[in-house]
Amino acid sequence: MIKTQKTNISAILSRILIYTILTISALYFLLPIFVMIITSVKDIDEIKNGNLLSLPQNITFQPWVEAWSQARIGASSDGIKPYFINSILITVPAVLISCIIGALNGYVFSKWRFKGSEVFFSLLLFGCFIPFQVVLLPMSQTMGYLGLSGSVAGLIFVHVVYGTAFTTLFFRNFYVSIPTELINAAKIDGAGFFRIFFKILLPVSLPIFMVCIIWQMTQIWNEFLFGITFSDSDTQPVTVALNNLVNSTSTVKKYNVDMAAALIAVAPTLIAYIISGKYFVKGLMAGAVK
C-alpha cells in the first residue's frame, strides 16, 4: 500500500517535471516571435525607454505601414512591398515548374526505370548537397550570356534548376510505394506512359504535391544567396530587402519598423506552416531520410 502511494507520488512529480520542461522550452521558442510582435507595435520612444519584454502601452500600427510602403530600402522609399511582390513573382512559377518536372521525373525513376536510371538518380541526389557557392561564379557568367542577369526570370530559372533534384526525390520516393502490379496491369491493358500517369498516379498524388509545394515554397521564399547574387535593386526578393533595411547605416535605427518588416517577410511561410504543418513535417522527413 505504502509502496504504490510512493510510486504514485513519484509518477506525478515526474509528470509535473516533464510538463514544466516542455512549457519552458515552448516559451523559449516563442520568445523571439513574441518580441517581434510587441516591438512592431511600439513607437520608438517606448522602445528606448522600456525594455525587450515590456508590453506595448500605446499600440501603434504606424511601423507596419512604414515597413510595408514607406521605409527606405536602398535608393527608394517604397517600403518592403515591391520586394514582397518580387518574391511572389519568383516563388510561384519556380515552385510550380519544379514540382511538375519533379513529378514526371519521379514517375520515370520509380515506374519506368531504364538502364542507367539509378545511376542518373544518384548523381542527381548529389546535387541536393552541393554548396551553392561552387556554382555561383559559373552561374553568374551564364546568366550574363543568356541575358538573364538581374531579372526575375533569371531567379526563377536558378531556383528551378537547383530545386528539381529535391522535387524529383520527393516524387520518386512517393511513387515507389505505389504497387507496381497496378502499373503492369494497366500496361497489359494497353495504357501508355501518360495514360498511366494521369489515370493511376496523379489522382493519388495530392499529398505529395502538397509536401513538395510547401517545401519548395519555404526554400525559395526564404532563399538569400541566389537572391543577393543574381538580382538587381528592383528585382530583389524580400529576404535581400529585409537585410538591406535592417543593416542600413544611413538612417536612424527603427527597430519597430525592422520587426514589422521581418514579420511581413515571414508571414507567407509561417501561415503555410501553421495551416499545413503536417505536410511541412513530411517534407522535412523526406528531405532528411532519403
Binding site: A26, T39, N105, F129, P138, N222, V246, N247, A262
Partner: protein, 292 residues
Amino acid sequence: MKSKLKFLEEAIPKLIVAPTFLIMIIFIYGFIAWNFILSLTTSKLLPVYTFAGLKQYYSLFDNMKWWLAMENLLIFSSLFIGLCLIIGLLLAIFIDQKIRFEGIFRTIYLYPMALSFIATGTVWQWMLNPGLGLEKFVIDLGFTNFTFDWIINSEMAIYTIIIAAVWQSTGFVMVLILAGLRGINHEVINAAKIDGASLPLIYWKIIIPQLGPVFFSSVIILLHIAIKTFDLVVVMTKSGPGFSTVLPSIFMYDYSFARNKLAFGASSAMIMLFFIMIFVVPYLYRELRKNS
C-alpha cells in the same frame, strides 16, 4: 508500324528525363568543373583563362582570414550540431511520454524552420543588442552589473550566431528523433521495465543506441546547414566585429563579388565542396545501397 510505336513507347520515359539530365550535367557537374578551372587561373574582376596551377590554393592556405573562417566553421558546426542533437533528443524524449497537447508543443518547437535565416537573424540581433535587448532587460530587473554583449565582442560573437542557429534548427532534429523513437520495438523495453530497470537507464542503454541511423542523418543534415550558413552571419554581424565571425561561405562571397578576386573565390568554393563531399558521399552511398 507496331514496332515503331513500341520504340516510341520505350523512348518516352527517357525523353521525359532528358532535359533534367542535360541540366544536371551542365548546371551541377559542368559548373563544378568550370569553377575548378576558374580556380586554376588568375581571374580577377572577369574570368581569364590563363593557367596558374595551384597558385590560388597556396595563397588561400596562406591567408589568415581563411584559417579564421575555417576555425569559426569548426567551432560553429561542432557546437551547433552538438546542441541541436542534445536539446532535440531531450525534447523528443519528453514529448514521447504520452503527454497531452503533443501537437501544440511540436508545432511550437518546429515553427522556426519555416522562417528565413534573415528574419531569424533580424530578431536575434535585436534581442542580443546590449543597449536595448536582453542585457537591458536583466539590468532593469535590478541586476545592474549584468553584461551580455557577445554580439559586439569579437571573442564571443560567433557564439551569438550559434544561439540563433540552434534556436532555428533544434525543432527539426526533435522531429527526426521523435520519428525514430516511434519506430522502436517496444517488446525489449517492456521486458526491461518488468526487470525493474529505471526509465533513464532504459533510454541510455536500450533506446538511444537504437537511434544511431537517425543521429547519423541528423548530423549530415546539420553539417550541411552549417557549411552553407551565410545569411545568418550577414544579417547578424556582417562577419564582424572585425572579421571575427567570418565563415568560408562569407569569405567566398566577399572575395568573389566584393573584392573581385574570382579565381581566389573559386578556390575557396572548391574547398567547401570538398568538405561537404567527405561527409555526404559515404552517406549517400550507404542510403542508396540500403534502398536497392
